[in-house]
């Protein structure tokens, strides 16, 4: 899938960011990526399929040796979270994903007998520009707040 997005204005934001100390610049960046991550999480939640299997139900899973195990069913829409990632070298990152729910990868990418439903991929691609714009807006606000 081709993806294009508009980053105009970011070079000016970057120049203002460099006038801050490392600590303040990092805090501003973290707020911006958190805002973008939260928006993306909302979009993924809107796109996520919802089954009629209730949260907490015990489901039988197959093991490699032919045995089975019981697992708790977690509904995808209830467990889409934004998590901060530890990074080095001045980077700020968050991950947006499903934190509980063994079956989510089989929903997203299907299984041998079930079609793929790439709701996360589609949500990401359909909302990339909006997420970038959100991050730019939040970064701008954080820079004003910090006097840059």
């Amino acid at each position: 899938m081709s993806m294009s997005f508009n980053l105009s204005g970011f070079s000016q934001l970057h120049a203002r960011l460099q006038t801050l100390s490392d600590v303040e610049a990092t805090k501003a960046g973290q707020a911006a990526v958190r805002a973008g991550g939260a928006l993306l999480a909302r979009k993924i939640k809107e796109a996520a399929p919802v089954s009629n299997v209730p949260e907490g139900k015990q489901i039988t899973r197959h093991n490699k040796n032919g045995s089975t195990r019981m697992e708790t069913h977690y509904k995808i829409v209830n467990h889409i979270k934004v998590k901060k990632i530890k990074t080095q070298g001045g980077k700020v990152e968050v991950s947006v994903g499903v934190v509980k729910g063994y079956h989510v990868k089989f929903v997203e990418m299907g299984s041998i007998h079930n079609a793929a439903n790439p709701f996360m991929k589609n949500a990401f691609e359909a909302n990339t520009q909006e997420v970038i714009d959100k991050m730019g807006q939040m970064l701008g606000k954080q820079l004003v707040k910090r006097g840059a």
Binding site: H62, H113, A115
Partner: protein, 121 residues
């Protein structure tokens, strides 16, 4: 139609090729393909969309991990070399090695994502 050409290209590598899902108790190794995205090109002088990028997910299943990997690698090489009047470009964009434990039989699985530029949609 890209699907017919895709099957034509994969079948010499793996004869068991299925669209979307495999049948019950499939012969292995087997390949399952599915279109998962589409981005038509937009020409300001022509409203009709005749070309575009198509995303495909291609899965190789086997009860033996190395067999799945070998088949996947051969498919990847074949598709990356694909160049004809209908397919403008092929990009291999992702690969995941994992397992499918959704059935009584445990399958090793190689999932690959490709983006094709299709000139004949």
């Amino acid at each position: 139609m890209i699907e017919a050409k895709l099957v034509q290209r994969i079948t010499p590598i793996c004869a068991n090729v299925f669209p979307i899902v495999a049948p019950a108790n499939p012969p292995v190794p087997c390949v399952v393909y599915q279109q998962i995205g589409f981005d038509p090109t937009r020409d300001i002088s022509d409203d009709e969309q005749t070309e575009g990028f198509k995303d495909f997910q291609i899965d190789v299943y086997s009860t033996r991990f190395l067999e799945a990997k070998q088949v996947a690698r051969a498919i990847k090489i074949s598709l990356k070399e694909w160049d004809d009047d209908d397919i403008g470009s092929v990009a291999w964009t992702n690969e995941l090695n994992w397992a499918d434990s959704t059935t009584d039989v445990y399958y090793y699985r190689v999932t690959m994502h490709f983006t094709f530029y299709d000139r004949a949609i």
